[in-house]
Amino acid sequence: MALSHSVNMQVRNIHKGFGAFKALDGVSLDIAAGELVCLLGPSGCGKTTLLRCIAGLERQDSGSIVIGARDVSELPPQARDYGILFQSYALFPNLTVEQNIGYGLHGDGRATIKARVAEMLELVGLLGSEKKYPGQLSGGQQQRVALARALAPAPSLLLLDEPMSALDARVREHLCGELRELQKRLGITTLMVTHNQDEAMLMADRIAVINHGRVEQYASPQEIYRSPASPFVAEFVGQGNWLPFERSTDGHAQVGDISLRLPTLLSGDARGRLFCRPESVVVNPSVHEDNLFSAQMREMTFLGNRCRLRFELDALPGHSLLAELAPEAMPRLNGADIWVALPPRSLQVFA
């Protein structure tokens, strides 16, 4: 598998406004060759605008885009060398699957094109559908055709614009895996826009979380999940517990009547919020843990591979918190009275 043509990409300080609205407010990204990066954020955050700027479909107000060694900032879409998969797939309804895939393969001999189309069909597992029209295919099949069409001219960059949003959940998960596997096999640098964190987590090497036209955090999925760089990222990605605190005189965090020990002593702001992932909460620990408090269990939801527990600390009544635990930890629960530990290393401080 040759990766020789994989390219890296640099996006530098892109600004783009629509009238008074700032869609992109100084976005910079570095993408390594062969990497799959997801642009994740709520709708209207600017992620699609960024993709369209990179594709040359919108022109940025300022900033530069470099693909490989080429500065493409001012180039028209045709000169940028990428393939793109749209949310709607934009398959041409009057052309067959074969013609759609071969659409970008002009200038080569007929036989070469035919061979390439066959190769692409095999790649996406649609051999035998050459003569069908897009209207005769299922949504998932249409997506594969669109992908094959985008990849057929061997572009150095692949852009995916919400590729899964038109599919139902089962197909979606399956295709996510397939798409990722294919991308790895081809080693093609890929940028994908999504508002769905599961997709991003499932597929990305790195995720750029975007909000209000700015990159809030750009890191691996693990890091994004474990150490969100901002309250927005923490809240947007995954579930979490928030505890408002004040700094106590000894550098610990004072939450209501209880004091929480942190990995390091507090020195900055006098007040803030603590963040903790539900699966970091330890329920009825068998060995001693720091920050151990008595609590009341309010609700338990069985999610198959894990359980979700809603509880209130006795010292903080009325403030619901979540914990997640493996099903095998369930026998340890008997009755509504439980002990929970909030390990210091799992607590993150936000201003």
Binding site: Q136, A152, R185
Partner: protein
């Protein structure tokens, strides 16, 4: 497998060709519209505001005209007639279009064909027929209380005249639908009425508005029908006609023409506003909707369709009958006497000229208009595209008479380098294309707007030049609309009178003008006969195009067939 490194590197960027296609095409279209619409119009308006007072021009004359009670009264009449016609025609045309596109009634091509009749003959013909039907000597005179001349005469005449125009816009608004939306609606248990309101209506209401505007503007600028069956009912367009033809008051005609421009400008702004709220109805993933039979619905729509067609057939049958009658109403024996055109000076030249004009206008016009609509709808919106959009609405608003005079004033200037065109068939072709630009452009734009907005982006990402994408994808998908435009331009060119009447020269005399002359000379039979000939020619060409379209669709448009298993 060596996928990524496969030797399919892109060609040299096709950017230059595309820029030439998009920018060059847009500027070319702008130039064309400036030359054939704006400048002639300005030449005419100049006569209105700066022209000499002896021809009813000048600012003082304008102030007097616009503030007079008579003018307000005429305006009121015009508005009343045009609104009445629009409110009668558009619902009927919508029902008709719905019957053709969204139900399973029998013999659709037949109804479609009959509905086109008014487009196929000069507007004089239904006028003549209405008088033979409901005039004082009319065969159905007993059915109505008063004679046909007046308000209702104009309304009926204009309703017949505008029906196919409205139908054309509405048919394309209802042409494409996503079957999945209907499946979704019925799976959610929505009633057909509910599904209609939320899917069909919301997808087509922009077309309804466009049709309303089109009918309204066609009526308010038409003088052909009021001249024939208007009696003493006065409208603004007729006032402009009287000013120019009766009193050579070009200035006054221009000032009234200016007022008639306003409805089109108004439609433009509302259309723009509505467009922002319209989403794509036909994405790349859409399934073409094919209606399922439903007995009650189909019977009801069949009844509406048949009634409308019977009315049209009655009117045109009467017209053809009148071309065969020796001397109405006193000698009703039938003969072909009125068809002896070779005795007229010029003989069949007028007819041959009309054919040539129609062929040229249809071919060049459809290419220019469809490509133009593509360049307006499917490229980055700029000041230029907005200007083009606005300009393409103007011709609809201009009464043909004002249009034709503007051509004389502009193209016959001693200083105009293009004045060599004056009196040639080339200028008549340009004038015909420009005069009928709006409807054709609206049809093209409506069809184009129903295509997925990402098609062009996808083509660009594949480094396919836009012009090639246009020919390979856009044109084939829009082929039915394109053939509609060709047919529309052909029959309009065959039947047009009002603008052409000032532009023909001895070599370029036209059949429809000959109709007007014969009618004017009292040779109603001859006028009816020539009209019938025009009608048959247009009908023949329409059938030919329909056959062509049918064959083409079957051969190359298999994608329109429903998917097996869906």
């Amino acid at each position: 497998m060596n996928i990524a490194a496969a030797p399919y590197r892109r060609q040299a960027p096709a950017d230059l060709a595309d820029r030439l296609f998009v920018r060059g095409g847009q500027w070319l279209l702008l130039l064309l519209l400036m030359l054939t619409v704006l400048l002639p119009l300005l030449a005419m308006l100049w006569r209105g505001f700066a022209g000499d007072a002896s021809q009813g021009g000048g600012l003082t004359a304008a102030a007097t005209l616009y503030s007079s009670a008579n003018f307000r009264w005429l305006l009121g009449n015009s508005l009343k007639v045009s609104l009445t016609v629009a409110l009668i025609v558009v619902p009927l045309a919508y029902a008709f279009a719905y019957a053709l596109q969204r139900t399973c009634i029998v013999a659709k091509p037949l109804w479609r064909g009959i509905s086109l009749l008014p487009l196929l003959a000069p507007s004089m013909l239904p006028g003549i027929a209405l008088i033979y039907l409901f005039g004082n000597q009319g065969v159905l005179r007993g059915l109505i209380a008063d004679n046909i001349y007046g308000f209702w005469g104009i309304v009926i005449g204009q309703a017949i005249y505008t029906f196919p125009h409205a139908l054309m816009v509405l048919l394309s608004a209802l042409a494409l639908a996503d079957a999945r939306l209907f499946d979704a609606a019925s799976s959610m248990g929505a009633s057909p009425w509910r599904a209609f309101r939320s899917i069909t209506w919301s997808g087509s209401r922009q077309g309804v508005f466009a049709a309303l505007c089109l009918v309204f503007t066609l009526c308010i600028t038409d003088f052909g029908v009021p001249v024939v069956v208007g009696g003493d009912y006065q409208v603004l367009a007729l006032e402009a006609y009287k000013a120019v033809v009766g009193q050579q008051q070009f200035g006054r005609g221009a000032l009234i023409g200016l007022v008639l421009l306003l409805p089109a400008l108004l439609s433009f702004s509302v259309d723009l506003w509505l467009r922002r709220r319209q989403r794509d109805a036909m994405s790349g993933r859409a399934q073409v909707y094919h209606p399922q039979p439903s007995l009650n619905r189909d019977l009801a729509f069949l009844a509406i369709t048949v009634l409308i067609c019977l009315a049209l057939l009655g009117v045109f049958g009467m017209a053809i009958y009148s071309s065969l009658v020796k001397f109405w109403p006193y000698n009703l024996s039938l003969a072909l006497d009125h068809y002896a055109f070779s005795e007229l000076p010029g003989g069949w030249l007028a007819y041959r000229n009309s054919l040539l004009l129609a062929v040229c206008s249809a071919l060049f016009g459809s290419v220019v208009i469809f490509t133009g609509a593509y360049l307006i709808e499917k490229t980055r919106q700029t000041v230029l595209t907005q200007a083009l959009r606005l300009l393409s609405f103007v011709p609809m608003a201009v009464p043909g008479l004002v249009f034709g005079l503007g051509y004389v004033f502009f193209f016959n200037q001693p200083h105009n380098p293009l004045n060599g065109l004056y009196g040639t068939l080339t200028l008549l072709v340009l004038c015909t294309i420009a005069h009928f630009f709006t409807t054709a452009q609206m049809t093209a734009a409506a069809a184009l707007r129903q295509l997925d907005g990402e098609f062009e982006a996808a083509a660009l990402s594949l480094k396919v030049p836009l012009v090639r994408h246009f020919l390979r994808v856009t044109v084939p998908i829009c082929l039915p609309a394109l053939l509609d435009i060709i047919r529309y331009l052909f029959v309009s060119a065959m039947t047009t009178v009002s603008a052409a009447i000032f532009l023909y020269s001895p070599d370029s005399v036209l059949a429809a003008v000959a109709v007007l002359n014969m009618d004017d000379a009292g040779n109603v039979g001859g006028a009816a006969a020539m009209s019938t000939l025009i009608l048959l020619t247009s009908a023949g060409v329409s059938l030919l195009l329909a056959g062509l379209s049918h064959g083409l669709l079957r051969r190359s448009q298999a994608w329109r067939q429903p998917a097996p298993g869906h």
